[in-house]
């Protein structure tokens, strides 16, 4: 029944659209989890949109028109997300900032694509969304899941020039996912060899057998996908066996606890982590505005959502129209200043210059390695 209703609703969309277009506003859809147990991921994006839109409206709006926010909830559920998308379309939104979860985003994207609506997610990290090329209307201001693995592998191959790499993971979703990407990228590059690919059990008494295996594989570097407790056991074990194998890991290891636990053995370890944007004046302003208006620090993906809203509205302003193609062109060609830095989007829809940096432990702290 609901299915049929949805199609009936779709039939009515053009009528609503023309009504909305006639109105003299720019309609920004904000979709994501605004209720349910993942609401803490979605609500900050609504607040970010409100802050940006207030600022822009105070300065005279976009193309001389006021911007209006239409917020719709999808509770991060793919089956609800299609309804959410349909509702937004029926309200005549010109662009959508959302959705939050990858699954919900994927479900909703088809509807936006058919209606030629540019959609930009602050938080959907599934690599496929941009890379499979099915959704030319999709953009995002967050790096995809494989970005860390990509950075780790590029760093190992091009900067450190390692020829033999051992890929180790902790069998978890996060760690194994990254390790699989890393392995794939190394094999694709053909510049190095994956000499060992193994999963270790988190919490095991010790990892001496795996460490001996790494040593035997004569790997120049270890790429580890997982979290810091296992990483510190591996690194200290390796250093105690006098192995100077380079250790490269991820966001789960770029944590001060790692240095606290591994102590002197942490020295020289590489780990990827989100780019440090805390010193960006726009970040400072956005955070301050949020504290002033809502009385607390912003939540998850706030800066990504803030940047996405800015990028979308900027693209409409720069292109001078609300036409799908011209907004896309503007997103790909015009730089925009955001809390995440000066960004524009590549032809897949990923933000250039957003994402991860390589850090290295030097004298007991993580230091960002500048290009």
């Amino acid at each position: 029944m609901r299915y049929i209703l949805k199609w009936i609703a779709l039939l009515f969309i053009p009528a609503f659209c023309s009504y909305a277009l006639a109105a003299d506003t720019i309609n920004l859809g904000v979709a994501g989890a605004h209720s349910g147990d993942l609401a803490s991921y979605g609500l900050p994006s609504v607040k970010a949109a409100e802050l940006v839109v207030n600022d822009i409206n105070a300065k005279g709006g976009v193309l001389g028109k006021k911007v209006i926010i239409w917020a719709e909830d999808d509770a991060c559920k793919p089956e609800l997300a299609t309804n959410t998308a349909t509702r937004l379309v029926s309200k005549g939104v010109h662009v959508v900032m959302g959705h939050i979860c990858s699954g919900a985003t994927k479900a909703a994207l088809g509807i936006y694509k058919d209606m030629n609506i540019v959609t930009m997610s602050p938080s959907a990290t599934n690599p496929d969304l941009t890379q499979n090329g099915n959704y030319p209307n999709f953009y995002r201001t967050i790096a995809s899941d494989d970005a860390q693995a990509r950075l780790e592998v590029d760093f190992a191959l091009n900067k450190l020039k390692v020829k033999r790499i051992a890929v180790i993971h902790d069998k978890g979703d996060y760690g194994k996912g990254l390790a699989e990407f890393a392995k794939k990228f190394i094999e694709q590059s053909k510049k190095a060899q994956v000499v060992l690919y193994e999963g270790i059990t988190p919490g095991a008494v010790d990892y001496s057998a795996v460490i001996r295996k790494i040593k035997r594989s004569k790997a120049g570097a270890v790429i580890f996908g997982g979290y810091h407790p296992e990483a510190s056991k591996l690194v200290s074990g390796m250093r105690k066996k006098r192995m100077d194998t380079i250790f490269i890991s991820d966001d789960g290891v770029k944590d001060d606890t790692f240095i606290k636990v591994a102590k002197k053995y942490a020295e020289g370890v590489y780990a990827t982590g989100p780019k440090d944007v805390s010193q960006n004046p726009m970040t400072i302003k956005a955070t301050k505005d949020h504290q002033k208006k809502y009385g607390k620090d912003p939540g998850a993906f706030f800066l990504n959502a803030y940047s996405a809203t800015l990028a979308l509205l900027n693209a409409i302003q720069k292109s001078g129209s609300i036409e799908y193609e011209s907004i896309r062109m503007a997103l790909q060609n015009e730089y925009v200043e955001t809390p995440l830095g000066k960004i524009r989007f590549d032809k897949n829809g990923d933000a250039e210059g957003v994402g991860f940096s390589m850090y290295q432990v030097k004298n007991g702290t993580y230091v960002e390695i500048k290009e």
């Binding site: 999963g199 001496s208 795996v210 001996r212 636990v261």
Partner: protein
């Protein structure tokens, strides 16, 4: 070329063997606690892994204080281990009095549930009192200079673990076999009523069993913590499960069985990782357990007793 490859293979084998023995020794030390308690009151003391964890935490605190006062090296190690053993055995003693003694004549499942409850209580108690985060544990055992020529094979801490385990085993065997208290413990394990009739205070014997088991677990906790350098409130769980497996593998209730079971389990894991893949470490360990239990239901050197769980 041929010989070089051959030496390599042999060295690799020895490295895995030593790694497996080290890990197996730790399992064996904990497994002894399980097996002794089972032998005497036929209870699986699930809180035993937590005693091991408490030992490690006590040693962390003691060594922290001693380092603050400027002590260093092996003196810290021995003091920390002594205090940890005392403190943990006090815990073992108290746990038995609070959680198991009142249930001694209750149905078999009751003390089992009580044991699981105790384990959860202790974990959460340490989590709240300390932190849920991993804490760094100082390397109390130095890398001995005289070992530097083979330290790629066996480091100071590993050697100390092996030697300590051997010494502890010898002491334990002596205690059980040749002392009055050992004799009384064996008598209690064989037949509680008869032991009582000949004038043995079986409550004291049961307490003594818990105290000895807890001391061994604390020693294992301190040894492994200083070897791998980090602890948190959860380390007792996996170590406890593995040690329990080792105890069953060797034949629960049998003291040499626990040692053998621990070593076999440690070696299996080490060789499975070394020659197959660490993904299959646990698969091999538990497949071995199943296999041995099919062929020998009472474990490698277990006694055949029908009424066990």
């Amino acid at each position: 070329m041929m010989t070089e490859n051959f030496t390599d293979t042999v060295l690799y084998f020895i490295e895995l063997l030593l790694g497996g023995l080290t890990r197996g020794s730790i399992y064996a030390l904990i497994a002894l606690g399980y097996t002794m308690v089972y032998g005497i009151i036929e209870l699986i003391n699930f809180a035993h892994g937590e005693i091991y964890m408490l030992g490690a935490f006590t040693a962390l605190i003691v060594s922290g204080i001693m380092t603050m006062y400027g002590y260093a090296g092996m003196s810290v190690f021995f003091t920390a281990m002594l205090v940890a053993a005392l403190y943990s055995s006090a815990y073992g003693y108290t746990i038995e009095k609070i959680a198991y003694k009142p249930l001694r004549n209750a149905p078999r499942l009751s003390p089992l549930i009580s044991a699981i409850g105790m384990s959860i209580f202790l974990q959460n108690y340490v989590m709240l009192a300390q932190t849920s985060d991993f804490m760094p544990f100082p390397s109390l055992i130095p890398d001995f200079e005289c070992l530097s020529w083979i330290d790629y094979m066996i480091g100071g801490p590993e050697l100390v673990i092996l030697i300590t385990t051997v010494i502890v085993m010898i002491c334990l065997t002596f205690l059980i076999k040749y002392t009055r208290i050992g004799k009384a413990m064996r008598a209690t394990a064989q037949d509680k009523k008869m032991a009582m009739l000949v004038g043995i205070d079986i409550n004291r014997m049961i307490s003594a069993t818990f105290v000895i088991g807890s001391t061994l677990a604390a020693i294992a906790g301190v040894l492994i913590a200083t070897h791998i350098g980090q602890i948190n409130f959860y380390i007792g769980f996996i170590a406890g499960i593995k040690a329990f497996t080792a105890a069953v593998l060797g034949g629960i209730g049998s003291i040499p069985g626990a040692v053998l079971g621990g070593l076999v389990l440690g070696l299996t894991e080490s060789f499975a990782t070394g020659y197959v893949s660490s993904d299959y470490e646990d698969v091999f360990a538990f497949a071995l357990l199943v296999l041995i239990l099919i062929i020998r239901p009472s474990g490698l050197i277990g006694r055949n007793e029908m009424q066990k769980v």
